[in-house]
Amino acid sequence: MLFFRSEDLIAAWCRERDVPLRPLVRLDQLWGLAVAWYATRLEPAGRRPQPDEMRGIFAAIGLDDPFWDPVANSF
């Protein structure tokens, strides 16, 4: 899970390593994920989202590719 300066640099990085290009995430979307995942993590009720919650979090910020499905076996 890495930062890249541009989408072109991600494509180059994937080609060099022969790994698939995955869905790209803007930093405002990443902030949305971080808040949903971690905003309460230091509190007693803090915990990892469960699969159904994960799907809702991803969908709410526009990440609906099967890549983000926590139980998918095809992507």
């Binding site: 930062f3 640099l9 930093l27 405002d28 971690y38 998918a72």
Partner: protein, 150 residues
């Protein structure tokens, strides 16, 4: 199991308090002293928390590699907040530390391809639009197959 669950909660909260206050992973003995238990009981709790994916332990079963979003070891993703420096496990967790602390933070990382530095001030709102992107190779269903690689 209520007793174990309550103890695990106390242990987890002490771990996170330590990370939040110092930026570093706690020793088992520090958590034991704060939780009012022995080191063996804390190590057992660590194992249960790892089973619930709340912690990732080193091979010694006592050193915390990850208490997401905090990293117990140095990484390329650093977050500075209130004069404390934190290591994050990954790009996502760098933002996650700022979200968890709920206070202004500076994320320092770099482009994985070009090594260009990324310095980003995070407050209570999303960062401004830019050409920077986040990319993850491993599909969500397999993140925990090897969470350190992910």
């Amino acid at each position: 199991m209520a007793g174990a669950d309550d103890f695990d909660l106390a242990v987890r909260l002490e771990i996170y308090r330590h990370f939040a206050a110092t930026g570093a992973r706690p020793a088992v003995e520090q958590i034991a002293a704060r939780a009012g238990a022995g080191p063996a009981a804390v190590r057992e709790s660590y194992r249960r928390l790892q089973g619930r994916r709340m912690l990732v332990l080193e091979a010694d079963g006592a050193s915390i590699r990850m208490a997401p979003p905090f990293s117990g070891v140095p990484t390329m993703h650093v977050v500075e907040s209130a004069r404390v420096s934190y290591f994050a496990n990954c790009a996502w967790d760098a933002f996650g530390i700022a979200a968890a602390l709920q206070r202004p933070s500076t994320v320092r990382s770099r482009c994985a391809r070009s090594a260009e530095p990324l310095v980003l001030e995070l407050g209570g709102s999303a960062p401004a639009e830019s050409s920077w992107r986040f990319h993850c190779v491993v599909p969500a269903a397999h993140w925990w197959d090897d969470i350190v690689f992910t």
